[in-house]
Subunit: 479 residues, 2 copies
Amino acid sequence: MKRHEDPKWVQKMILTLDHNYAMAEFLGEPGLKESDLHDLAPRLQVLDQDLAAQRQNGQLGFMALPYQDQVVKQIRQVAKPLLEWCWDVVVLGIGGSALGARALHQALRPPQHNKFPMGRRNHKPGLWVADNIDPDSFYGLLDGLDMRRTGFIVVSKSGNTAETLAQFLWAYQFLKNRLGEDTARQRFIIVTDPEKGPLRRLAAEEHLASLSVPANVGGRFSVLSAVGLLPAGLTGIEVEELLAGARFMDQRLKDAVPDSNPAYRLAALYYLFATAKHRPNLVFMPYAGALAGMAEWFCQLWAESLGKERDLAGNLVQAGSTPIRALGVTDQHSQLQLYMEGPPDKLITFLAVDKFKNDLEIPALYPDQEAFSYLGGHSLNELIRVEHQATAFNLMKADRPNMTLHLPEVNPFTIGQLIFLLEVATVAAAGLFGVNAFDQPGVEGGKQTTYGLMGRPGFDNERDEFAAAPPALEKYRIV
Amino acid sequence: MKRHEDPKWVQKMILTLDHNYAMAEFLGEPGLKESDLHDLAPRLQVLDQDLAAQRQNGQLGFMALPYQDQVVKQIRQVAKPLLEWCWDVVVLGIGGSALGARALHQALRPPQHNKFPMGRRNHKPGLWVADNIDPDSFYGLLDGLDMRRTGFIVVSKSGNTAETLAQFLWAYQFLKNRLGEDTARQRFIIVTDPEKGPLRRLAAEEHLASLSVPANVGGRFSVLSAVGLLPAGLTGIEVEELLAGARFMDQRLKDAVPDSNPAYRLAALYYLFATAKHRPNLVFMPYAGALAGMAEWFCQLWAESLGKERDLAGNLVQAGSTPIRALGVTDQHSQLQLYMEGPPDKLITFLAVDKFKNDLEIPALYPDQEAFSYLGGHSLNELIRVEHQATAFNLMKADRPNMTLHLPEVNPFTIGQLIFLLEVATVAAAGLFGVNAFDQPGVEGGKQTTYGLMGRPGFDNERDEFAAAPPALEKYRIV
């Protein structure tokens, strides 16, 4: 029996949300009243029904991902020949094609996975995510890898992403030159739409291995598809347990009444603070280095899903709140001063890990020196827990709302829960804001101007518009 | 002659600031008017005189750092015996003791420096920054290094930082156990106050090598002291050129009239948008992976210097603006949608690099496939430049103010300029906000609660206060 099939183990791995320090009982006026949440209950009730209907209709494709067991088999098939020669895997992708893979790697592989010799990582490859086209970053990354031993996963849902296609063209030619055409071809795996788009066509024509992202799943909701699972599986993450964690959270959300559904509660808190409480900045601050990538992943999910000029009825709303990723305890020595005393425009969510893998006891070395002696005999584990508590407590005392999402441990099961929880919370928040969670109309203009300036046929107007823009004034240029 | 002594080369390496897209001529009402800047000129004039007087008095210690050439010699002395055996260096430090070292490493060493074999990096060690006490991050980092070949730099200006002392105690004991006491002692270099504090005393008692941070330089302004220069110098960065860049910027700022002083202009723009224009979020977004660490460093400098509850006269102001680090082009696929369409509360500063080290031409591989063909023959260099231009232009069209700081290249000379520019801009902004740039009173409460909970003598009240706080309510805890 796998551990995630053992109810006793599962019971110990449940995420909990504690939002006491966001409430009026602790903060007075800056806090929410229980009645504020109650007042939102009817809307959450309707939302719950809407989402159930949308799910039924296949509009919420991401919610089906935890149940697509065949992906695990497909990954094994693709992985098997690759693992015979592969020391490193590079993901070519950006945004939703990159952040999930990196988040899973940071959360679920040891910090030095990529540096360990192959034996210490069970002969699994290192993972690198090339999510920028800056030539020094991109070349510099590849320059440290052995190209005879490096595989590439090219990820773009649409198959049309300029940055990813440019990286692919460069890397494909580079490998052809170095290793010959046949070998180069074996080095690439395409992950894209099952039927449509330039990458899908290319995979067929060039006979490249490929996996699919379901047609009804957009990039930023795709981490539990091959987009996130292929890199995770290749590097040795237990993807079944990850999916089991997501299914467990799905069941928990289904079982809850809307009023005690943790995804809806999160959505309600984030929505009410951004609107009624005028705190449009949402700090997301794990107290665990392993979760830094999850914070980055969530910041994309939240920003791109909710930051919308128009609501569903077409009204100008400029909706959303600004996610800000921070890291405890590190940012206590960087951003905390601002959070404590600066503009009162933030709601802070801590992620706390109850149990780490390592216990590091602080030795009692200088009993006569007061700055050292009080630390001796405690552990780093105690220190980080105490610092989180002290920070949350002092923020509360300063009337700065904060809450904590507790993970019993960081493992595939808890990370699967966390992903699914935050995805549903984001979609629910879109319902409260009244916006479409699944589009990103605001970035189209920049893409089209780029196409125009790069000479893509059909974008002459955009090129001309840019050229005809009023020139920069020298007085606003300081040399 | 070194290149930074060649006026022709220097002339090509000057940073420029273009803030056209923050102005009313391009944005209409959301933009600043030229008269807004003119109205601030008298205050900048006074500020300029104040800062000159403070500098004279030694209150602005960081401004003297670029002239302290003896640090370079001290670093060489410390480095020489170390480089005989050292493959990796770990900085134990947090906040201002960590961010500068990491920023310099990311900016000025190749992305894979730490992974290269020693020969490819001129026998310079890799650099790792341990700025968290989470036991899995800390142990996991060390677990990938050969402890016989690893040196530690322990950095704390006050010598009192709980996290850093705890890391030191653990690592020192760990090395003693593995390598014996004498060898362990040679593995540590202390960087702290020249005279005061527990670490200074310990360095003397334990006969550990040490360097000093000048007494009048605080942690977040210390990157051009041994705090940043020792790790930089050890890993092969040209620290003389870095200091020369800072001196060059210093001279440029001295030569400028306040009205065209780029540091004051930055400060004025950031201040006016945060206050008069109600845009208290300051996005800092380099279009170069190498500069991601510089953005993190600046976010600390800005947040901790300006996020203050009280002004110098003691009035409640809750001053500051919230720095948010982003990365181009990567965050075009993550945060840009929000920046384009979400709450209009942001001012965006791009950092653009005019020339990268590598030129990567995109091969023309599939001339018949339209999604690929327009890219062929262009370069990644063009693509990233065009994407920055297209993004800035479309933000401007959407009335979202933005500006661009141009670096001709990323090298020690331009980074030295950038550091000094941003430090002076931050201090000038503190003058405009009317707050103390050099304290951080808001984080004291959390430290004291931590001491109390860890049993440090003298902090019983804080422990009792925490224990006596009203308990969390179960209704706000969702399991």
